[in-house]
């Protein structure tokens, strides 16, 4: 015969969570159904036996110390919170001023950082040089950190001119003669390079 009582109903019965009518019904059922009776008894025994498994006792000192630590930590956190709230109060009082000054600083920093971009200045580095004569210097050049070329820098004092050459070919030169010249971007680069002659001289 199939049992129509669910196990959860038996737990409710054992836990006294059902009304009188259902209680009588299940009680009568347990008298006749071995499966349900076995489940009910297993549950009762599981409950009563597990309840008796106790944890090793700790002495009063253990709890006194734990309580002392709890109260100490509460005090510490309370003082930290007070400090934090003071900092927050100060920050909130000067909030507008701080935001304004920070914005100004950021704008100034952005202008400084972007200055080379506006000016179109290239980052030319001389990483090595060798004096060949008084007026000729061998250079290894880096442009924006990348190797460009080995070049020669010449200065001709007799005609007061200076130029840079690579592989025997003159790339750019300047003189002191007044003449209007429109420079290409490449020429501008070499002009920059010549400007760095101060570095060459200081080397």
């Amino acid at each position: 015969m199939k049992c129509n009582i669910k196990e959860i109903e038996i737990i409710k019965f054992a836990e006294n969570l059902i009304d009188e009518y259902s209680k009588n019904k299940i009680s009568a059922h347990l008298e006749t159904c071995a499966t349900c009776k076995n489940f009910y008894e297993s549950y009762q025994n599981l409950f009563s036996e597990l309840k008796q498994i106790s944890i090793k006792e700790k002495d009063n000192d253990f709890y006194m110390q734990m309580k002392a630590r709890i109260l100490e930590k509460i005090q510490t956190r309370a003082s930290q919170d007070t400090l934090l709230s003071k900092i927050k109060f100060i920050l909130s009082s000067f909030r507008k001023k701080i935001i304004f000054s920070s914005s100004i600083c950021i704008i100034i920093l952005l202008i400084i950082a972007s200055y080379p971009i506006f000016k179109g200045k290239q980052n030319v580095n001389v990483i090595s040089y060798a004096n060949l004569t008084d007026s000729e210097i061998d250079l290894i050049l880096l442009y924006n950190g990348k190797f460009i070329d080995t070049m020669n820098y010449f200065k001709n004092n007799s005609v007061d001119s200076e130029f840079i050459s690579s592989g025997g070919e003159s790339l750019f030169y300047t003189t002191n003669e007044d003449e209007e010249v429109t420079l290409s971007s490449e020429e501008n680069f070499y002009l920059e390079l010549l400007d760095s002659k101060e570095i060459i001289k200081s080397l």
């Binding site: 959860i8 737990i11 836990e15 549950y43 597990l50 309840k51 106790s54 944890i55 090793k56 930590k73």
Partner: protein, 187 residues
């Protein structure tokens, strides 16, 4: 004196705390720290972690007690904080090897009518403890709160933050699994 302190009602202690009396909070710790420590220890089986979580539970209680509206019992509120702390540890931390936290039961607990092999030895207790530990979090917690903390299903529902029916269903599944697993071990 201690008895008097322990017998002070929770609502009185809370109202004194809200008036600014920190001794009232100290009394709350006195009253509940042992129960919380045992609950956490049974759950995580690590004494050091249980101490830390008990401390953290009361610190959180101190921080949140002003917001406690008294809709539930104070101890279910405390249990809820403790269980949440356990849950965080349960999911986040790598489980350390559990230690044997139980005291051995009295020999007279063995009952002749029991279909169970009675829990007389350390090995028996370890086995049943392992079965409980393998249960999913909700089933394990519901079962432990009912069996070891003697909470009603209404209280369990408050602690766990779900309905009484969910508490009953989780408990029923846990009971069924434990009886089944324990039966296998006995064979």
């Amino acid at each position: 004196m201690k008895d008097t302190k322990d017998n002070l009602s929770d609502s009185f202690l809370i109202s004194e705390f809200l008036k600014g009396d920190d001794n009232a909070f100290s009394s709350i710790v006195d009253k509940y720290q042992k129960r919380v420590y045992y609950l956490v220890l049974r759950f995580l089986k690590n004494e050091e972690v249980a101490q830390d979580i008990t401390q953290e539970t009361f610190i959180k209680l101190y921080q949140n007690l002003r917001a406690f509206k008294g809709k539930s019992n104070l101890y279910t509120y405390i249990y809820r904080i403790a269980i949440n702390n356990c849950k965080n540890y349960y999911y986040k931390e790598t489980k350390s090897n559990p230690v044997f936290i139980y005291s051995l039961p009295q020999s007279e607990m063995a009952s002749a009518y029991s279909p169970f092999k009675t829990l007389k030895t350390k090995e028996d207790i370890l086995r049943v403890s392992e079965i409980i530990d393998k249960l999913p979090y909700k089933q394990k917690t519901t079962f432990m709160l009912r069996i070891f903390e003697d909470l009603s299903f209404k209280e369990i529902a408050e602690v766990m933050g779900f309905s009484i029916n969910s508490a009953l269903v989780n408990y029923h599944i846990a009971v069924k699994k434990i009886i089944k697993e324990w039966g296998k071990i006995q064979k």
